[in-house]
């Protein structure tokens, strides 16, 4: 299996190329730019065939062009970050509503003001209710694998929904790492050409897409998306398993569990910060702490069942959110707590707000959090529910 030393962004670009995307419409924004630069380079070097690159005049148009392309039967891809993603918001709903499996890489970047180009998950999590599947990558390999799986899952006949693959600004996007890339023939076997639900080239049986849905019908359109999201959980597990069988990296679990079997305390989070957490888990274990890590790979659909299975056997869950919903709490914390409310699993849960706007999250931070959690469990009582861990005092 060929290996390449690439940045997270180049991993995304290679995955798009290997997925044989047919239309890329994108607009530059730091730190996403090297994804689309690399794709442009593939075209300039004649490394790809039948790929149309549309250098649009905004992210809103990037998504609109991808939607037009996808409705015409093409495999469409784009990438963006923060402000660009926010500008696309309206069309994210449109892609899902029109049941178009566009794939997009979002390089997590903090929302302005103040201006920031660094890592923060609030941009993608703010798109929670748009009907997109969301996959959070821990490392460059997962960016690559995530994009390939995203097409297969989104295009699945039971899903037909768009998929967002999320990576961290700079920590992944601009950091080089070894990435295994299967041979093109192997990928073609895993990911055959798209079989669209419909295409606008059907002149024999012309139809309209997205016409007015009155109160008599709109409701069922929404239910179908809700159902497709539920179905997507099965498809994710199937595709993740197949990926593992073919390429040796198993993604059949929507939550990756790390040393949780006998753990009393579990750190839960998403994306690149979970690499640091796993490192800290190893160290903490050598110091006698019974800790583990739960990396939420898929935020949408949300892995309710897997979370319950985990939660019923642990005493405490520390949810690390590199994001915040103003007026409430960390977004993953909010979701995880909500899932468990109607179950018999009642671990103590505490929300640590960490690393907003790219502030480093270190092994020592995780160790300090473990210590705090241990005290809470011993006392059987939360000191506070939400802690802004990094706050300068």
């Amino acid at each position: 299996m060929p290996k390449k030393v690439v940045s997270g962004n180049y991993a995304a670009a290679y995955a798009a190329k290997h997925a044989r995307v047919e239309v890329v419409a994108a607009y530059p924004i730091t730190p996403q730019t090297s994804i689309i630069e690399k794709i442009a380079e593939f075209i300039a070097n004649g490394e790809v065939e039948n790929l149309q690159y549309v250098p649009v005049e905004s992210e809103h148009s990037a998504m609109a062009a991808c939607i037009g392309a996808s409705a015409t039967g093409a495999r469409a891809f784009t990438a963006t970050s923060a402000q660009g993603l926010a500008l696309m918001h309206e069309m994210l709903h449109w892609a899902a509503g029109a049941r178009l499996p566009v794939v997009m890489v979002d390089v997590n970047r903090a929302m302005a003001p103040p201006w920031s180009v660094w890592d923060d998950q609030t941009d993608s999590l703010a798109q929670r209710d748009t009907g997109w599947l969301q996959f959070y990558a821990e490392n460059n390999q997962e960016v690559y694998d995530g994009v390939l799986m995203a097409f297969k899952i989104g295009e699945h006949e039971k899903v037909n929904l768009p998929v967002m693959v999320v990576e961290s600004a700079f920590i992944l996007s601009h950091t080089y790492d070894v990435v295994d890339m299967p041979e093109q023939e192997e990928i073609d076997e895993f990911l055959p050409p798209r079989k669209p639900l419909y295409t606008l080239t059907d002149f024999e049986n012309p139809f309209s897409v997205g016409a007015l849905g009155t109160p008599a019908d709109y409701y069922e359109f929404r239910y179908k998306i809700a159902k497709a999201m539920e179905e997507a959980k099965k498809v994710i597990k199937e595709v993740g398993k197949e990926f593992g069988e073919r390429f040796g990296r198993d993604y059949s679990q929507m939550i990756e569990l790390y040393k949780t079997d006998d753990a009393e305390i579990v750190f839960m989070g998403m994306g690149s910060l979970m690499g640091t957490v796993k490192e800290a888990v190893d160290i903490l274990r050598s110091e006698g702490y019974k800790v583990g890590a739960a990396k939420v790979r898929w935020f949408r659909p949300f892995p309710r069942e897997e979370l319950y299975e985990l939660a019923k056997n642990v005493e405490g869950i520390a949810v690390l959110d590199r994001n915040f919903s103003f007026g409430q709490e960390g977004i993953l914390f909010n979701e995880a707590k909500g899932v468990l409310y109607n179950t018999d699993a009642k671990p103590i849960m505490k929300n640590y707000i960490v690393g907003l706007g790219g502030r480093d999250i270190t092994v020592n931070d995780v160790k300090a959090i473990a210590k705090n959690m241990k005290e809470i469990i011993q006392k059987g009582k939360l000191d506070r529910e939400i802690e802004w861990y990094h706050l300068k005092r």
């Binding site: 549309v54 148009s61 991808c66 012309p206």
Partner: protein, 320 residues
Amino acid sequence: MVPLEEVKKMELPADVKKKLTLPFEEHFYAGHTACQGCGAALGLRYVLKAYGGKAIFTIPACCSTIIAGPWPYSALNAPLFHTAFETTGAVISGIEAALKAKGYKVKGEDGIMVVGWAGDGGTADIGLQALSGFLERGHDALYIMYDNEAYMNTGIQRSSSTPYGAWTTNTPGGKKHFLEQRPKKKVIDIVIAHKPAYAATASVAYPEDFMKKLKKAQTIKGPAFIQLFAPCPTGWRAPTDKTIELARLAVQTAYFPLFEYENGKYKINMPSPNKEPKPIEEFIKLQGRFKYMTKEDMEILQEWVLREWDELKKKAEIFG
């Protein structure tokens, strides 16, 4: 109502058919939901006739969203993608790119036409950026702005294409004389600034001229744009049987002159471009939306019309 299958089978006598100046085949069906006398519905019908159903339509939020019919119906005998207000230029770019990636023939006699059909608000205002992107990137598609001079679908609010002195629901007249105070935005000039392959104005009162322009847009490589004047009796507070007369008067008064821009050259194609334009009053007096205008307002509008007309004639002279 005659069933569709029966309509499709209907034949005209050969001698009558020979005299037709427009294609007989109908691809815009009964059951659409346009208001009586709707210029836009008429325009859409001509576009469908021109391309015989072998066109992919993109319609953003506008009257035609409704006119085309609610799910699961469609009055168009052609694939139709409904999209968000400001995205027509971008969506047709994406459709064209996908067709090319998949190896379809785009444009030309036997190719697929990619058509954006958007109102004046969706073009001159919220969709201007996407339109500019589409033109500048040079996609092989046609963008038609059907111009009824206000946001009619939302209930007659002014757009930048609304003329000076017009009443709309957010320029309502009243004691303060709060009417539209800005002249009509010249979208066609903005389009031409992009040096597109083809740009033209057209009117529902001159279907043969419109058809000729649609055919041209089909054969010329690169982006094409047509601004179609489409009266709205509902929003203009005009009788529903005056649509054609109003559209004709808009041309005859030089309020909305017909011309083409092709390969850097302007060509005026008015029915009689050398004749003095009729006074603007003739166009105005048939419409309730202008009833609050004072004599001074009328003069301001008349002066604007003649100045713009003069400018166009000069352009045609210099770049003819």
